[in-house]
Amino acid sequence: MSTEKTIDRLSAPPKPGRWIMPGLGLIQGLVISGKNAIQSYYKKDRMTTIQYPEQRAVISPNFRNFPFLCYDGDAATGLRCTACSICENECPPQCIYIVLERDENGKSLKRPKVFDIDISVCMNCGICAEVCPFDSIYMDGEYEMSTDDRFGGLMLGLDRLAKSAEYHMKLRPEEASAVMAKRKAEEEKKAAAAAAKAAKAKADLEAKAKAAAEAKAQADTEQKGESA
């Protein structure tokens, strides 16, 4: 297009050694900004801003915001968290608060009674997710968290923190599937170990029985010999 060419020629920097007109640079600047203004009406690729409430940006899998707790199956019983308090101790701004649940005898049930994260303090460092040995705490991808309640609304309890493993899978498939694979492998290993243990116990039992039988037989023969 010839007008495009004219615009490009006008907005090109002057060649060195050539006499330039005072004010040419000003005109070049005006041409560039005018081009921006006019092309923004018909060139869709110029408008890079996303009109937020109607359109949403596709969140990158690497986007990390405040933490959440992962559970398998049922929210009440399936929490992976064991209330070990490692994240509570490691958290730099000390925004995690955990209370372990115990039964009436005072014995640990290995799950949290209270798990609070104050996201007005949290600085999204991700250390809690790094240190968790039970694959329980991960960084979330949610960002619409504004509230008009300054204290209660920003203190997330178990009800808002607990999210299913499927959610994690949907949010960050790569990481989640790796974790799932790891957990599955561990479970299989555990199952195998349990099976091996059971087999061993059985073998032991059999061996014991055999030994007992042998000892009985021996005793019988000895008795026979005595009696004979």
């Binding site: 060195p16 006499w19 330039i20 007109m21 005072p22 000003l26 600047g29 005006l30 560039i32 900004s33 005018g34 921006n36 203004a37 923004s40 009406y41 110029r46 408008m47 890079t48 801003t49 009109q51």
Partner: protein
């Protein structure tokens, strides 16, 4: 009591802006008011029309400015309040009105209060002498142009009052910048208007517009802009008016990245809105004066467009000038204070002074071919000097690297 039946005065599209005045006068005559009351009522209605029109233009401009700047930066701009953001000025107004009005403890409350009022008043007064249409001249003053510049002088004092009465550092610095800038740029502004006064032989703004009537060769309007001295003076007037209205790239007084908001830093709520309003009304006034002096005021740009009401042409030209201000605002970065002063005193004022002999020669040699031959070289002198300076002295030298090459 018997009402005297007064026929309603006839009006055309041309005198449509006079309608409120005619209506009030008609009503007052109908109820049998005395003559002085009719005159006062009619004048008040006319003043109300002018103020109302320019205040709605201010509201519209505050939206259009944001939209245009957004387009230059490849954004959409305000588009939430109403259809295409048309209600944005209303939302802004409500926000401004409901905000808390803060007066700092170290401020002098009387001057602090007077400053925003005194900044709006001169702008409205200046708009009052503008010929907005053939039949729409609110006050047809004999000394209109002088009146315009005289009331403009009040702006500087009110800026100083705002800066000093706030009792704080940023407003003080902003006010000092603003005053030195306004005083420096008022000179080229007035000097470039002198040529027009000389050629017209009158300070009355409607005379200046009437003098630019007609067309050369049947197509080129007989505006001052299309004469050599008028072109030079108009260009200087344009640049100086940007500085006088404190617009980018000369918006140092309120350079938000340096001194918060200049003399308006300690203002909030409605007082801040008044400053904003005063600034935009001043912008209309100065751009309107430029239109009146150089762009033929309300004259139609082409001969066959004479049937359009003349006030439409005035506002169309005003819109073009103001859109160009917006374009410039969206393009150029802010200048430095020493560059600003040097530009005014060493560049604009000498060039403006040169337009006076050029205008005199133009009239003296009979506004013909000879005048072109005489005045164009005279006006080209600074241009040639600038070109030589630009290419020889001011041009950035080719950069040589001492250590990077080895």
């Amino acid at each position: 009591m018997i009402f005297a039946t007064v026929p309603f005065p006839s009006f055309t599209l041309e005198s449509l802006p006079q309608l409120p005045k005619l209506l009030v006068e008609w009503l007052l005559t109908l109820v049998g008011a005395p003559d002085w009351l009719v005159i006062i009522g009619g004048t008040a209605a006319m003043a109300g029309t002018v103020v109302g029109v320019f205040l709605s233009a201010f509201a519209l401009l505050s939206l259009v400015e944001r939209k245009t700047l957004a387009r230059i930066q490849n954004r959409l701009g305000p588009n939430r309040a109403g259809w295409f953001g048309i209600l944005q000025p209303v939302a802004d107004g409500i926000k401004m009105l409901t905000k808390e009005d803060i007066v700092p403890t170290k401020a002098e409350w009387l001057l602090h209060l007077a400053a925003p009022i005194l900044i709006v008043v001169p702008s409205i007064l200046a708009l009052g002498v503008m010929p907005l249409g053939r039949e729409w001249v609110p006050v047809n003053m004999e000394l209109g142009l002088l009146f315009f510049f005289s009331v403009g002088a009040l702006t500087e004092l009110s800026v100083f009052m705002a800066g000093w009465a706030s009792g704080s550092k940023f407003p003080m610095l902003g006010a000092m910048r603003a005053i030195s800038q306004m005083v420096s740029y008022e000179l080229p502004l007035i000097i470039s208007a002198l040529g027009v006064i000389m050629v017209t032989g009158s300070l009355r703004l409607s005379d200046i517009v009437a003098h630019q009537e007609g067309f050369n060769f049947g197509i080129i309007p007989n505006w001052n802009l299309f004469t050599p001295w008028g072109f030079a003076a108009g260009l200087i007037f344009y640049i100086a008016s940007i500085a006088e209205a404190n617009r980018c790239p000369f918006d140092l007084p309120e350079g938000e990245s340096e001194i918060v908001a200049g003399h308006m830093t300690e203002y909030s709520g409605f007082k801040y809105a008044l400053f904003f309003m005063g600034e935009y009304l001043g912008l209309f006034a100065i751009a309107g004066l430029g239109v009146t002096l150089f762009l033929g005021g309300w004259q139609a740009p082409l001969p066959f467009l004479g049937w359009v009401p003349t006030w439409i042409w005035f506002f169309a030209k005003l819109a073009v000038i103001i859109m160009s201000y917006l374009w410039i605002r969206g393009t150029f970065p802010r200048v430095r204070i020493d560059q600003l002063m040097r530009f005014a005193w060493l560049c604009l004022i000498p060039m403006a002074l040169l337009t006076i002999p050029a205008a005199a020669l133009w009239v003296f040699t009979g506004k013909g071919i000879v005048s072109w031959v005489v005045t164009v070289p005279l006006l080209m002198i600074p241009w040639v000097i600038l070109t030589i300076l630009f290419n020889r002295r001011l041009a950035p030298a080719t950069r040589t690297y001492t250590f990077a090459d080895s």
